[in-house]
C-alpha cells in the first residue's frame, strides 16, 4: 500500500485531528477502566450507557431545557441508569463466576440498544438541535493555527478530559469513598468485614463511570451529531481497546491509551490513505498485539493472581 509523506501543516492538522479523536476515546475509556478496576468486570454495556446519556440530553433539550441543563440531565440520567443496571443485572452475580457477569454485560448491551430502538426510534436524530444560534459556535467554529484548522471542539475535549481526570483522581485518592473503592478492588470480602457497604460503593462506581460515559458521549455527539441506538457500539469497543492498551484498571492508562489509539488511527489513514477501510481492523490488531506482548498494558501494574 502506498505510503504518503506529510508536510508540516498537514502533520500538525493530523496531530490535532488525532488528539481530538483520541480525547473522545480517552473520555470513554476512563469509565470503562474504572469499573474494571473495582469489579474486574468488562462492562460491555458502557458504550450503550453513553448512547442513553446522549439521548437523555437530546430529549431534555427537545423539551426546552437550555444547553447546560441538558448536559446535566444527560450525565445524571446516565449515572442513575448505571446505578440501576448494577443493582438489577450485576449485583445478583457478585459471587457467580466472572464469565456470568461478562455474558450479562453483553446481554445488557443488546438490551439497551433494543430499548433505544423501541423508545427513541431507529432513525438517526441530529444532535445539532441541542444548540441554538447563541451557542452553535461550539460545534462549528475553527481556529487557524500555523496553517492548520483546529475546531474549538478539540480544546473543549482536552479541557473536559482534564477536568474529569482531576475529579476522578481526587475522588479515588483523596476521599473516603475513593479509599473504599481502592480497598474493594483488592479484596471484596475483607473490605465488607471492615464495615464498608460494598454494594453502595460499587453502585457509586457504576454511577460515576456511567456519568463519564455520558459526558464522553455528549462530546462525541457534538463532533458527530448523528444520534442513533447503535451509536455506542463501536466507540464502546474502541474505548475497551484503549483501556487495554493503557493497562485496564489504570485511570492514567485509559487516558494515555485513548489518546494513543486515536492518534494511531488518524495517522494510519493519513500515512496510508488506501488503508482507511481497515482502521477498525487495525484497532483490533493493536488489541491482539498488546494482549500477546504486554497483557498488562502500557501503564498497567503486573497483576498477581492469588491461588
Amino acid at each position: 500500500m502506498e505510503v504518503s509523506a506529510l508536510s508540516g501543516a498537514t502533520f500538525l492538522q493530523n496531530l490535532f485531528n488525532g488528539l481530538m479523536f483520541g480525547g473522545l476515546y480517552a473520555l470513554l475509556a476512563v469509565g470503562y477502566t474504572m469499573v474494571y478496576g473495582i469489579l474486574r468486570l468488562i462492562n460491555f454495556a458502557h458504550g450503550d450507557i453513553m448512547m442513553m446519556g446522549v439521548y437523555f440530553a437530546f430529549y431534555a433539550s427537545l423539551m426546552g431545557s437550555p444547553l447546560w441543563l441538558s448536559i446535566i440531565i444527560g450525565v445524571s440520567g446516565a449515572a442513575i441508569l448505571g446505578f440501576l443496571i448494577d443493582r438489577i443485572a450485576y449485583k445478583p452475580l457478585r459471587n457467580a463466576p466472572r464469565i456470568s457477569a461478562l455474558i450479562t454485560a453483553i446481554g445488557m448491551s443488546f438490551f439497551l440498544e433494543s430499548v433505544a430502538v423501541v423508545v427513541f426510534g431507529a432513525v438517526p436524530k441530529s444532535f445539532t438541535s441541542v444548540f441554538n444560534d447563541n451557542n452553535k459556535w461550539i460545534m462549528d467554529k475553527t481556529w487557524n493555527i500555523l496553517d492548520a484548522r483546529i475546531p474549538v471542539m478539540t480544546f473543549l475535549i482536552f479541557f473536559v478530559t482534564a477536568i474529569i481526570f482531576l475529579i476522578l483522581f481526587w475522588i479515588v485518592y483523596r476521599t473516603k469513598i475513593g479509599m473504599a473503592m481502592r480497598a474493594i478492588s483488592s479484596d471484596i470480602p475483607t473490605t465488607s468485614l471492615m464495615g464498608i457497604n460494598v454494594d453502595m460503593v460499587i453502585g457509586f462506581t457504576f454511577a460515576l463511570g456511567s456519568a463519564m460515559a455520558a459526558a464522553g458521549g455528549i462530546m462525541w455527539a457534538m463532533r458527530y451529531p448523528n444520534v442513533f441506538p447503535y451509536m455506542g457500539f463501536m466507540p464502546g469497543l474502541k474505548a475497551f481497546i484503549a483501556a487495554v492498551l493503557g493497562g485496564i484498571g489504570s485511570i492514567p492508562g485509559a487516558v494515555v491509551g485513548g489518546f494513543l489509539l486515536g492518534l494511531l488511527e488518524i495517522f494510519l489513514v493519513a500515512l496510508m490513505p488506501g488503508a482507511a477501510g481497515y482502521r477498525d481492523a487495525f484497532a483490533f490488531i493493536i488489541l491482539i498485539v498488546i494482549l500477546l506482548i504486554k497483557p498488562d498494558g502500557l501503564l498497567g501494574k503486573k497483576s498477581v493472581v492469588k491461588v
Binding site: Q13, K125, R223, N226
Partner: protein
C-alpha cells in the same frame, strides 16, 4: 416508530388470512433506517390505493434487516420459506440487494428492488429486477454535471469500501469524468466511520474543485461538516444515497449547497401518476414526498402490474412479466424495464437550498 409497530402488527395479523402474499425486505433499523422507513411509506401508500390484484387482496409482509448484509439474505430466506410469498419488494441498498437477490434467484422468487442502483444487482439474474436507473447512468450524470455545470476539472472521489453501491458509483463517475477531460484522485472510508478528517486533510491538500462522496446520508452529512471545518469551500456532490431529511438535520449549514443525483423530484417528473402520488402522499403523511417514497410506490405498482400481466400469482410468470413492463406511468416517470431487469430513466439533479431539497436540472447521460 409506533406507526411502524402498528403496521407490523396489522401486517402480521393479515398474514393469517393470506391471499396474495408479497414480502417486503427493508432496513427499518440500523444505519440507513431512514431509507427503509421512506420506502415503506411509499409502498404502504400504494398498497392503500391499490390493495387488490386479479380480484384478490395483496398482503404485505414486512421484515427488517437491520441495515446488515447477512440479515438481508436471512430476511429474504425467511419471507420465502416461512411466509411463502410469491414476490418480494426490496432491498434499498445495493449491497443488501446483492446478498438477498442471490437467495431469491436460487429459490426462483421474483424480487423487485426500488432503489438499488449497482449494475451487479440484476446482472445475470432472471428473478431480480428494479424500478430505478443503474449507477453507470447516475455516475455518468454526476460527472457530466460536475464538469459542465460546476466547471470542475479535478475531483476528489470518496469511496465507501463496504458498499457495492459506492464502489460502482465511483467507478462510473471516474470513467466519465476522465472521458470529458477531468482529473480525479481517490480517498477511502468505511460505513460506520465518523471521523474523516485524515482523508479530508489529505484530499484538501491536493486542491480538488469538487468533492464527490459516494456513500449514504449518515456519512455524507458528517463528511460535509468536517470538510467545511477544514476549510474546503468548493462544491460537494453526492449520489442518491444523500436524499434523506436526516442529511440536512445532521449536516446543518455544512450541507447547504450540496448537490446530488437522484430519481425524482415533484418538480422534475411529469406523469399523471406523479400528481396523484404527490397529492395522496401529502394527504396521508403531511409532507412532500422524496425519491425513496416515490420509488417504493413505483416498485409496488410495477409488481402489481406484473402480477396482472402474468394473470396468476405464480412466481415464475411474475418474474417474466416484470421484464415486459413497458411505458408504465409511475410516480417517478414512465417506467420501461429492459430485458436485464433495469429501468431506463434520466437522472435528476437536486441540491440543498435553504434547508430544502430543491430541483436543479435533469440529465440524460445518453445524450453526452
Amino acid at each position: 416508530m409506533k406507526k411502524f409497530l402498528l403496521a407490523l402488527v396489522l401486517v402480521l395479523s393479515l398474514v393469517l388470512f393470506a391471499n396474495i402474499k408479497v414480502g417486503v425486505v427493508l432496513p427499518m433499523t440500523g444505519g440507513i433506517a431512514a431509507f427503509g422507513e421512506m420506502s415503506w411509506q411509499g409502498i404502504e401508500l400504494a398498497h392503500e390505493m391499490y390493495p387488490k390484484v386479479l380480484g384478490e387482496q395483496i398482503d404485505l409482509v414486512l421484515v427488517d434487516n437491520r441495515s446488515e448484509k447477512t440479515e438481508a439474505a436471512n430476511a429474504v430466506s425467511r419471507v420465502i420459506d416461512k411466509e411463502k410469498v410469491v414476490a418480494i419488494i426490496g432491498e434499498v441498498a445495493s449491497a443488501h440487494s446483492l446478498a438477498g437477490g442471490a437467495v431469491a434467484e436460487r429459490k426462483h422468487i421474483p424480487m423487485l428492488t426500488s432503489s438499488s442502483t449497482n449494475p451487479l444487482v440484476t446482472n445475470r439474474k432472471k428473478y431480480v429486477s428494479r424500478v430505478c436507473f443503474i449507477d453507470p447512468y447516475q455516475g455518468a450524470a454526476a460527472a457530466i454535471f460536475a464538469y459542465k455545470n460546476l466547471n470542475a476539472k479535478k475531483a476528489a472521489v470518496f469511496i465507501d469500501v463496504e458498499q457495492d453501491y459506492s464502489v460502482g458509483l465511483a467507478n462510473f463517475f471516474k470513467k466519465k469524468f476522465q472521458e470529458l477531460g477531468g482529473n480525479y484522485f481517490i480517498e477511502f472510508f468505511k460505513t460506520g466511520d465518523q471521523e474523516f478528517s485524515a482523508q479530508l486533510t489529505d484530499a484538501i491538500n491536493k486542491n480538488p474543485d469538487v468533492l464527490y462522496i459516494t456513500g449514504y446520508y449518515p456519512e455524507i452529512s458528517l463528511f460535509a461538516r468536517q470538510a467545511r471545518m477544514l476549510g474546503f469551500k468548493g462544491p460537494i456532490l453526492a449520489g442518491d444515497g444523500a436524499e434523506a431529511p436526516e442529511l440536512i438535520k445532521i449536516g446543518g449549514d455544512a450541507v447547504e449547497g450540496l448537490y446530488y443525483t437522484t430519481h425524482f423530484h415533484p418538480k422534475g417528473a411529469a406523469t399523471d401518476m406523479t400528481k396523484v402520488f404527490v397529492e395522496k402522499f401529502k394527504e396521508k403523511y403531511g409532507s412532500e414526498p422524496g425519491a425513496m417514497h416515490a420509488l417504493g410506490f413505483d416498485a409496488y405498482l410495477v409488481l402489481r402490474k406484473a402480477i396482472e400481466m402474468a394473470g396468476k400469482a405464480d412466481p415464475k410468470a411474475i418474474a417474466k412479466a416484470i421484464r415486459e413492463v413497458k411505458n408504465f406511468p409511475g410516480a417517478t416517470g414512465m417506467i420501461t424495464i429492459n430485458k436485464n431487469g433495469d429501468a431506463e430513466k434520466s437522472v435528476v439533479i437536486d441540491m440543498v437550498k435553504n434547508g430544502e431539497f430543491t430541483y436543479v436540472t435533469t440529465i440524460n447521460p445518453a445524450n453526452y
